[in-house]
């Protein structure tokens, strides 16, 4: 479990993290989302015990990171931003160093070492210097370092940054398999990642918590939620008809590919009436889609509001 209570961090006049209170339970994968410079990494550094908070507290598995730092650090696996590691060491030396630092017992350590190396597909590079590895491999070495002691709490700062799509998929699978009984906090600015991994999302900007919800709840806030979009050649005349449907609020046409998006009035379901109408008109619809909502749009909308408006959003979600 990770808990922060009014966690605050100032750099001179700049408040990087502003009274952030979040709580992540076992079994949850919380995605910490925010624009660059929002305070994601600073918050994580405080939870990991690297930076000392200006005020407020952070607890890992119930241990206050300021009062019982060693116990908190033992319970935590942490991948810092950019996955730093000692470049002059080989992958094997580096991971063995972590094993020693973590005080893992000999036979258990060997088994765990092999398992982690296998899971992150590092077998072939064990003897290579970390400096010579690609960015993606280095990231995987960093991940291996974080999960080597099989921690109950895992905190990963941009875990898939710099990986190719296949590697991203592999890392997401790894996190997914680890997720069941663990507490996982990841920071990311990839919205696809939120869909793929997280069952909860916290959005912060300027150090303030702006939203705390499930991905589905966030999608519902999108104006695209419940909208119906379709492509149909010669649908120009049907636009007027669609607009006359009582459930429809507005219609937009993509100027590039002519795709038509129909927006519902609040609380209305419009897939069926739109389909019926199109069928009656005898239009050839090549493909029709019910939109779930667009996270990127919600993200933009939330993070570009000014701080005051942001506070309202967060109090809404708190209710």
């Amino acid at each position: 479990m990770i808990e922060t209570d009014q966690l605050t961090r100032c750099y001179g006049n700049l408040t990087a993290v502003d009274a952030l209170s979040i709580r992540v339970e076992p079994g949850q994968v919380l995605g910490l989302l925010g624009p660059n410079g929002a305070g994601k990494s600073t918050a994580m550094r405080m939870i990991a015990g690297f930076l000392i908070p200006t005020s407020g507290t952070a607890r890992v598995c119930g241990y206050d990171v300021s009062r019982e730092p060693l116990k908190a650090k033992r319970a935590l696996g942490y991948l810092p931003e950019g996955a730093p590691s000692y470049g002059e060491m080989t992958v094997r030396e580096f991971l063995q160093f972590i094993v020693r630092m973590r005080g893992l017992k000999a036979d258990a350590a060997y088994r765990r070492f092999d398992e982690v190396v296998h899971r992150l597909q590092l077998e072939e590079v064990l003897g290579l210097g970390i400096d010579t590895l690609s960015k993606g491999l280095r990231r995987r070495v960093g991940l291996a370092q974080a999960i080597l002691h099989d921690p109950p709490v895992l905190m990963l700062d941009e875990p898939t940054d710099g990986l190719d799509p296949n590697q991203k998929h592999a890392v997401r699978q790894l996190i997914d398999t680890m997720a069941r009984e663990r507490t996982i906090l990841i920071s990311t600015h990839l919205l696809e990642e939120v869909h793929a991994l997280c069952n909860r999302v916290v959005i912060i900007a300027h150090g303030k918590l702006l939203a705390d919800a499930t991905p589905a709840e966030l999608e519902q806030r999108s104006r695209y939620h419940g909208a119906v979009s379709f492509s149909a050649p010669g649908a120009g005349m049907s636009q007027e008809m669609l607009g006359r449907l009582p459930q429809v609020a507005s219609i937009e046409v993509d100027p590039l590919d002519g795709r038509i998006t129909v927006f519902p009035k609040t609380g209305e379901r419009i897939l069926e009436p739109v389909e019926t109408l199109l069928r009656e008109q005898g239009l050839e619809v090549s493909e029709i889609q019910l939109e779930r909502g667009r996270l990127d749009e919600v993200f933009r909308q939330i993070t570009t509001q000014d701080a005051d408006a942001g506070r309202n959003v967060s109090s809404e979600t708190a209710e």
């Binding site: 750099y11 550094r45 990991a48 015990g49 690297f50 930076l51 000392i52 200006t54 730092p69 060693l70 650090k73 033992r74 935590l76 942490y78 810092p80 931003e81 950019g82 730093p84 590691s85 000692y86 470049g87 002059e88 060491m89 030396e93 160093f97 972590i98 020693r100 630092m101 973590r102 005080g103 370092q145």
Partner: protein, 244 residues
């Protein structure tokens, strides 16, 4: 294995993986040897001791120890590995001690490798080997103090160059402060007691006392307290960095 040991082993290994260790050893051994014979008049003195050898050590350390210690924390700050290290389950003290011990053991190794000169002097005459052993001990203690200063000042900055210059500067001050010329300069301006106190701060004075074979507790304490003091300052600096 304890975290101190793990950090120490990692540091030592990194000396030998990067060419730092070999460059240091070669330069140290070559300079220690040639300076003893050419600048120290080892033969011309016609005395069976290693005074001309030990006299050079403060000046060798002045250049070479900062080169070892400058990367100690500055490199970790710059490369981001400081965050990795300090989020592993160890205290700042353990990290500092591990790094300090690695450098101190390494200098110990360098000193051991000067054994041919000890063999030479024993071949040429009949020196007092107790005095020579005390000389080695004094030299090693002085190196430890230089390392502790370097460890502290490396924690101050992300720049290795700045760490090197600051360390060399502090060390040269501590070497020179007991010299008669420096004391004469203060003689007029400061009360006599203060001048004497300044003279006691001099590293050279304590080192020379030990390397003459006089093992006075006060000289040993001087080095031990200096080391502990600078290491505490270094740990405090690292802690301060986490709040800033």
């Amino acid at each position: 294995m304890s975290p101190i040991n793990a950090v120490m082993r990692r540091e030592l290994r990194s000396y030998f993986v990067t060419p730092v260790a070999y460059v240091f050893l070669v330069i140290f051994l070559v300079l220690a040897g040639t300076l003893t014979f050419y600048a120290g008049d080892f033969y011309e003195r016609e005395q069976a001791d290693l005074q001309p050898f030990f006299v050079m050590h403060p000046w060798l350390y002045l250049i070479l120890v900062p080169a070892i210690t400058m990367r100690m924390w500055a490199e970790e700050s710059k490369g981001g590995t400081l965050e990795l290290l300090l989020t592993l389950p160890l205290t700042l003290w353990q990290a500092m001690l591990g790094k300090f011990l690695a450098a101190w053991l390494f200098i110990g190794l360098a000193l051991l490798l000067t054994f041919p000169i000890w063999i030479t002097v024993n071949y040429l005459g009949a020196p007092d080997n107790g005095v020579i052993a005390a000389g080695y001990l004094g030299s090693w203690l002085m190196a430890g103090t230089f390392i502790a200063i370097g460890a502290c000042l490396s924690a101050l900055t992300r720049s290795q160059v700045v760490a090197f210059i600051l360390t060399a500067l502090v060390c040269v001050l501590l070497i020179l402060v007991g010299q008669p010329q420096v004391l004469d300069f203060f003689q007029g301006a400061l009360p006599r007691k203060l001048v004497r106190a300044i003279a006691h701060m001099s590293m050279l004075q304590h080192f020379e006392a030990i390397s003459r074979g006089v093992l006075d507790v006060r000289d040993l304490l001087y080095f031990l307290i200096s080391m502990i003091g600078w290491l505490i300052a270094g740990v405090l600096l690292l802690d301060l960095k986490r709040t800033r």
